[in-house]
Symmetry: C2
DNA sequence: TCCTTCGCCTAGAGGTTCTATGTGAGAGGA
DNA sequence: TCCTCTCACATAGAACCTCTAGGCGAAGGA
């Protein structure tokens, strides 16, 4: 996974690709190419999924039993390997998403208002 | 850097430690021990900074000219190396913080409402 | 002296991502 | 048939960060 601009090559959020793949598969089975495109689109092209990251990640997820795969035919009539979420994968996704929220919140707390570009609300009463 | 519970050892947000160190030094010069404690405290103990991550990170930052160090005496009367933010370091922090916000936002968009534990608002008219 | 605490440091392993490259098959034109 | 483009999967090697586990030296109290 890389950013659009890639000012630095290596990724800042290593380890989140697996989570994003699992999240994408909640919408149904898909093959590698499609998964990558969906992640890029739903992130407004901020995240770019490289093949060299994607396929190792898919194999990782399958090894761990979080996705299952089967060969099929793509919408372009090509042979493609389709992946779908397993029950264990759904549980893993829940755990990872919770973990991500906690981490992102914590990092946000450390950063405070530094680096915000006006996208944070002033306060709004809090919860 | 690790989480408090460490369900998995390896870190989900690799590469953010440098940014958090720089952010901490905005408040003034500090030595390693203190930096780690400040990050842990300001994250409400969600983030834990291991020494094996901290010192390589500090050396990295110094090599790149983003912090400067000098020996001194700690509040406990021990010899300690104090770090402070350089001008370049401040610029780097701004860039990294912007990058982080963009990435975190993007990942949030991909996740959608999945994994939220009730901390997101229902909608509120949008912007 | 012994022990604890503070504070710095490093080696090695583990894991993820990137770049670069290779393979095979379908579609379309000549 | 031949050629080329695109789709789709796959791997090797390097680069990078973090963790575990350990070592070193000095201050302070018993």
């Amino acid at each position: 996974m890389a950013q659009g601009r890639k000012p630095d090559n290596r990724e800042m959020v290593q380890g989140t690709l697996d989570m994003l793949i699992l999240r994408t598969l909640v919408g149904g089975r898909a093959h590698g190419h499609t998964i990558a495109q969906l992640i890029e689109q739903s992130s407004d092209d901020v995240l770019q999924v490289e093949q060299g990251s994607l396929y190792p990640a898919l194999h990782r997820l399958e090894d761990r039993g979080w996705v299952a795969s089967s060969w099929g035919t793509s919408e372009n009539n090509r042979t493609a390997r389709f992946y779908e979420l397993t029950k264990a994968g759904r549980g893993q996704l829940t755990r990872e998403a919770d973990r991500w929220r906690a981490m992102a919140d914590a990092i946000g707390r450390v950063l405070g208002d530094f680096g915000t570009r006006g996208r944070r609300k002033p306060k709004e009463s809090e919860g």
